[in-house]
């Protein structure tokens, strides 16, 4: 099967269409959520834990706030944290991977050991410990997630750099007197970027889930509404026992759908750069 | 009819395009037939269709009849279902696959795998009998029986090839197909494997279909040879006759490319062009676009006909008593 160009893959496959739609909708809501929300998300009222009605499409929370508005506004946090943390993770992982793979020797040994350590350690407990020690803000959340998710990218990049390093064009460049920075910039980096990109898209999905989990456990930014904090509030106020499905189902569903969309796009891009992964080829 | 195998008008299609096109041949008991041709000409596909092991997506048609000497009734392979074939496979006809590197289950002992196959086709064999059979088989192919209790990865390439031959013989079939048994082996191993096959044929009365792109290999071990091109048989006949006096330009060119000890040092000119695309075959003779002797007549399909005693060729100009000088690079008539 010949490699189609990525635009075709996005349009022709149902995965591409679905992922693209989800991403587009999420992006739109993240930007314009506060503007299009019918109610201010924090606004409490006396209509506590009411089921969906004409006034409140998804009912109300335990403080009488509109669930639908919260859902819309919460999109921004998930998208922001997801993308920002993934970018940090990508930059860190690539830097470590390239340094480790290209320079070898002790640099490699130390960085590789560091990488393996981060890969083995369970991520959520690590994030919990880091987040609890610091003040609960979005920036902290982004930093914590980004600083704990880079090892996967690092490992992939390192493996790729190791193979690239031995290739003829690198040897030739060095023989011609090219410096390391030049080689990395013009030979190593361009050949690793597709891999980094594919991996980062999947990290976005993981970051979104991580933010939701941390917020759910109470480590999120209390001044911001996110889907995770919605679930946290719902749980803490006994919404499940009260049967308030309108409060409990939408935030989790939103997380699932967004993660699904992003993941599908990530898998699609992985297949594009690695034809071996395609099952019909 | 006393022949062991009779193949009539075998055709294998992939989405309507022929990979194997109207192939017919017979095989006598104990006879060795060589199937020659370049890669992609349909040799392996033919072999797989004899066992009805074609990958899904390929459809086969045509008659295949096997008459094992130990059976009363002939086996109509073409009519057998998958369940019906499971009884036939290995028991009456077996196949030594190309490239023995990964042909055995890596997590099971070799003797266990041979034993499994024996038990599959024979009831009421005792453990001791099976064990004795396995030792016997391994010794026959020139391996020490102790190697049986090893894993595949602990054996060398040549040893693995021999194990595959031993496996192929395990149920005492009357016909063994060997697909490129010497490719990927060094010259010394090649000679040993060929000697082994020859010895097995004489000792056990096995019929052999030997598939190879290497005519030298076929010359040593086979009685008759069939040359395939683009899914069709273009020449067939006794090995000596075909090699001494080929009757098809393709066979001639294949023979020319074999180095001759004591002959001139130059290389024969390569055959220009490449094998045709099965999706878009040339009109008439499949070889004519690359044939230095082709004319207008070659646009009509040449039938495979007897042009010398026991020798058939699919060429309008056969029989050839001598071969004219080759004109430099004629690309031939092609529509």
């Amino acid at each position: 099967m010949t490699a189609k160009n990525p635009a075709r893959l996005l349009i022709d496959t149902w995965r591409g269409r679905f992922g693209l739609t989800i991403l587009a909708v999420a992006l739109f809501v993240a930007v314009f959520g506060t503007a299009i929300a019918p109610y201010p998300p924090e606004a409490s009222s006396l209509d506590v834990l009411q089921p969906p009605s004409f006034n409140h499409w998804l009912g109300t929370t335990e403080s009488g706030a509109d669930v639908f508005s919260q859902l819309l506004v919460g999109t921004r946090v998930s998208m922001l944290v997801g993308f920002a943390a993934a970018i940090i993770s990508a930059v860190l992982g690539s830097a470590v991977g390239i340094a480790s793979g290209y320079f070898g020797g002790w640099t490699d040994r130390i960085l590789d050991a560091l990488e393996n350590w981060f890969l083995v350690i369970p991520t959520l407990p690590l994030m919990i410990v880091l987040a609890r020690l610091l003040d609960p803000t979005l920036t902290v959340l982004i930093a914590v997630i980004g600083l704990t998710s880079w090892a996967g990218t690092g490992r992939i990049v390192r493996a790729q750099v190791l193979t690239l390093r031995e290739r003829a064009f690198v040897e030739r460049a060095r023989a011609l007197g090219a410096g390391d920075t030049y080689i990395i910039r013009t030979h190593i980096l361009p050949n690793t970027l597709p891999l980094i990109f594919a991996n980062t898209v999947l990290i976005i999905a993981v970051a979104i889930l991580s933010e939701a989990a941390l917020s759910f456990l109470g480590l999120g930014d209390p001044t911001r509404i996110s889907w995770g904090t919605m679930l946290e509030n719902a749980f803490n106020s006994g919404a499940p026992s009260a049967g308030a499905w309108w409060y409990v189902v939408p935030p989790g569903l939103a997380i699932t759908v967004l993660v699904l969309g992003v993941s599908l796009l990530g898998f699609l891009y992985e297949e594009y750069i690695n034809p071996r992964l395609r099952e019909d080829g | 009819m006393s022949n062991l195998l009779e193949v009539t008008n075998l055709r294998v299609e992939h989405r309507g395009k022929p990979i194997v096109d109207d192939v017919s041949f017979t095989l006598e008991k104990g006879e060795a037939l060589g199937l020659a041709g370049e890669s992609g000409c349909g040799k392996t596909t033919t072999a797989l269709s004899l066992m009805k092991m074609l990958p899904s997506g390929l459809k086969q048609s045509g008659g295949i009849v096997l008459r094992p000497p130990d059976l009363e009734e002939p086996i109509r392979i073409d009519r057998r279902t998958e369940a019906g074939m499971q009884v036939v496979r290995w028991r009456h006809i077996s196949l030594v696959f190309q490239g023995a590197m990964n042909s055995l289950d890596p997590v099971k002992y070799i003797d266990a795998q041979i034993a499994e196959v024996i038990r599959l086709h024979e009831d009421g064999v005792s453990g001791k009998q099976v064990h004795a059979r396995i030792d016997d088989l391994l010794t026959t192919v020139g391996l020490t029986p102790a190697l049986g209790h090893r894993y595949s990865h602990q054996l060398s390439g040549g040893q693995r090839q021999r194990v595959m031959i031993a496996l192929a013989l395990a149920c005492r079939p009357s016909l063994v197909i060997a697909d490129e048994p010497t490719t990927a082996l060094d010259v010394v191993m090649q000679a040993q494997v060929l000697q082994l096959l020859e010895w097995l044929r004489r000792e056990l009365g096995l019929a052999l279909i030997l598939i190879s792109h290497d005519l030298g290999v076929l010359a040593e071990t086979c009685d008759r040879i069939a040359v395939m091109y683009a899914g069709r048989i273009v020449e067939t006949g006794p090995v000596a006759g075909v090699f001494a006096s080929p009757q098809h330009p393709y066979t001639k060119r294949l023979l020319d490319s074999l180095p001759v000890i004591g002959g001139s040092r130059g290389l024969a000119p390569p055959i220009p062009g490449g094998p045709p695309d099965p999706g878009d075959p040339p009109d008439g003779c499949a070889f004519h676009p690359r044939c230095p002797y082709s004319t207008e007549r070659c646009l009509k399909d040449p039938a495979l006909r007897e042009v010398a005693p026991g020798q058939s060729a699919a060429c309008h100009f056969a029989p050839w008593s001598s071969w004219p000088e080759i004109k430099p690079v004629s690309v031939g008539v092609r529509t």
Partner: protein, 322 residues
Amino acid sequence: MSGRWLAGKVAAAILTLVFVVIFNFFLFRVMGDPTTQLARLPRATPEEITKLQAQYGLDKPLVGQFTDNVADTAKLDLGISQRSRRPVWDEIKDALPWTLLLVGTGTLIATLLGSWMGVIAATRRGQKSDDALLGFSLFTYASPEYWIGIILILVFAVWVPIFPSGLQMTPGVDFSSFLAEAADVAKHLVLPATAMTLMLLGQYFLIMRSSMVDVLTEDFITVKRATGMRWDRVVRRHAVPNALLPLVTLSAIQFGAVVGGAITIETIFSWPGLGELTFQAINDKDYPVLQGTFLIFSFGVILANLAADILYFYLDPRVQTK
């Protein structure tokens, strides 16, 4: 050289664990020590702070603190819980069996069910059943496990009240026999274990499926078929055993996720395990407990990885005879 290989793996595991201890120490001493956290409590007076500093050994130089910490950890002295005033190790000891019960049940069912589904999907690649299973696993992979837990409570504990919505036992009941008590626990285990299983199911399914798909393309599978073996036997006796090998190594990647799931699922169901302990410690800012659970979680994952390595070593003859 199996002995050497094994020793190497164990040494690596120990080294990793040592770095966890080091990390733990520096994190809590450097990023914030208990007294400054305590100082945020409105009631702490300067005298109390000085006393706490002495108690925690914070007046010693850093190196001294570190060696003390390592020595204490080795003795399983992980400090005192700020909330309960009990030794952290005791809290962990009480909670650990419950987590093992939950995680063990969930992992076992997920592995068995997921592998079985994976084999089916691989042998029916491209067909509707394969697509359905793929879709299902994709959904469980993308959904937060605690959300699934909440939905399970909603459906099976509130709307159709078959199962309890939390805790590990019905409170305040005197059980006539061990069997009755076990049955009660089992009833409480169903929903949380289901949530855990669903979380892991998708991963194990995908791993087994891709492993099977790879194995089915191998030459020896074609050879087995050529010997006249029935397809179900080829799959069962030759494809599946070979597909299990990558499953062991690849599922080792899941162990971290298992821990994460344990934390959130136990929280939802008030299941008295390490996860619930962690959740309470988060709320109470109980740093000794947080440190302790982080240590135990890391140790658990390291141990599980080691076990997976050993298991793989015993299953794959190619590794053994190198």
